[in-house]
Symmetry: C2
Subunit: 285 residues, 2 copies
């Protein structure tokens, strides 16, 4: 059975799902997106993702393609039609198709594309050993808070990680501080036992999973410091991990071929992961 | 008559020209492009544009979608089918369509899109008064030498210029030096009469028209300094202008609402424009 996608008010077999070559998403990266995890057929953190979508659209002065209510219904219909139990909804909005001109079209008709895909979220098989990351220069533009499809630097970074046998690349700003991963937020428990993750401003994306973990930490009464940390501080950390919609909370046990702590996932990350999984699946495990 | 476009080995009416929603150009801005001017049905600086395309592809480790020879034939066929006398060829290559994953697909089948459009090049009506530019912070990524479709900052910049009643925005780096326009290179003749334009490294795009003008200058025995210049140096300049494939050489007579020189196009820019037009049209006017 071919997967079903949604493009501008139509449900279509994925292979037939197309956009015009003058779509501004294709010619200018003039678009934004969200990846919403689905667990047991249920969307996780839907409100958080749709709020962030709204913020991205607002920052780029891009109109909503339709109402949130319609988008909610379409996402549920895609879950149903694709018999999705565990996986992701991918949602992309662009400023639509119009004759190529850098300036905004006077009367934009936004493009809305939504797809659904089965995949294992936060793969348990990776958790036992944890994953490795490399560090690379952060060469991105200065508005990383907008979740745009202008993702070429992230593509190059993730490819570089893959070629180095790593799972993710942590990007490092000009002052030597880690910003975030190419598609995840970065966290450490430093040598002093302090949990550290970078504060969310224009320099990083405000991850929806990051926000959920911050809430879980608050509920647990666990303190943390929201501030930049250096690569050296990460090298010397007791624990490290990354968070993202499709990875949940994932232990990082190698940074640039150095072991983090004793080279095994730390106790805090495993605890946070359990808490998050319980939260995401709606079960108290 | 509908315009004719070319997409992956097929000539199609423009309205029917589409790419898959999982094209990496649409989802990741994982693509590059060229805009090649056409004058009297003849491609201008074709070799320069195709060389630069090759460089962009090489830097992104993206395969050629087909041979240069086939692309040359397709471009000519588009000129013919669209009865193009004066205008532009737009050519875009992406890493093709494949299930969404930041990493390069193991066996990429690049997408090739080529379109043709009639338009007036280097519009003479703008030359008499010259055009205005505004200055804005350069928030782009660090590999501006690659002509990628990751153009969202340029979109925002050009829109800001339009809303300010200006023709173009000159982007300014963190040290206060002009990098280039959102789709053009920036030049001044400073207070001392020295012609200045920024050297082409990773910080700007190596404009094909820029290179042609440098050659014309050399032939004329006119010296220049290839170095960054500040906004202040531009404010105090005797002349200013921009170069691009579709603008040729265009006088800039206002920068942030300040007049450049006496507010009229300067003598050097008009001379360079004449030289370039003669060169581009193959006529010694």
């Amino acid at each position: 059975m071919a997967r079903v996608a949604y493009v501008n008010r139509r449900f279509l077999p994925l292979p037939a799902a197309r956009v015009h070559i003058e779509d501004r998403g294709f010619q200018f990266a003039d678009g934004v997106y969200e990846v919403i995890p689905v667990q047991e057929g249920r969307l996780i953190e839907e409100a958080g993702h749709m709020d962030r979508l709204g913020r991205s659209l607002h920052e780029l002065r891009m109109p909503w393609p339709t109402t949130r209510r319609v988008m909610a219904l379409v996402m549920r219909e895609l879950v149903r039609r694709n018999r999705l139990r565990e996986g992701i909804i991918y949602l992309q909005v662009t400023r639509g198709s119009s004759p190529r001109d850098f300036r905004f079209p006077p009367d934009p008709a936004p493009t809305l594309v939504i797809t659904a895909r089965s995949q294992v979220l936060g793969p348990q098989r990776l958790v036992e050993d944890g994953v490795g990351v490399i560090t690379i220069p952060d060469i991105r533009w200065k508005r990383r808070d907008i979740k745009s499809v202008s993702l070429l630097p992230q593509v190059l970074g993730k490819q570089r990680a893959a070629e180095a046998g790593a799972y993710e690349a942590w990007m490092v700003d000009e002052d030597g501080f880690v910003t975030e991963g190419t598609s995840s937020n970065a966290w450490i428990v430093n040598r002093e036992g302090v949990l550290v993750t970078r504060q969310a401003n224009h320099m990083i994306l405000r991850g929806v999973t990051r926000q959920a973990v911050l809430r879980l930490l608050a509920e647990e009464g666990r303190g943390l410091e929201e501030r930049p940390f250096t690569v050296d501080e990460a090298y010397q950390a007791r624990e490290a991990f990354l968070t993202s919609s499709s990875n949940y909370v994932m232990p990082v046990t190698r940074i640039d071929d150095r072991s983090v702590g004793n080279g095994k996932p730390g106790s805090l990350v495993l605890k946070l992961r359990d808490l998050y999984v319980a939260y995401a699946t709606g079960r108290t495990s």
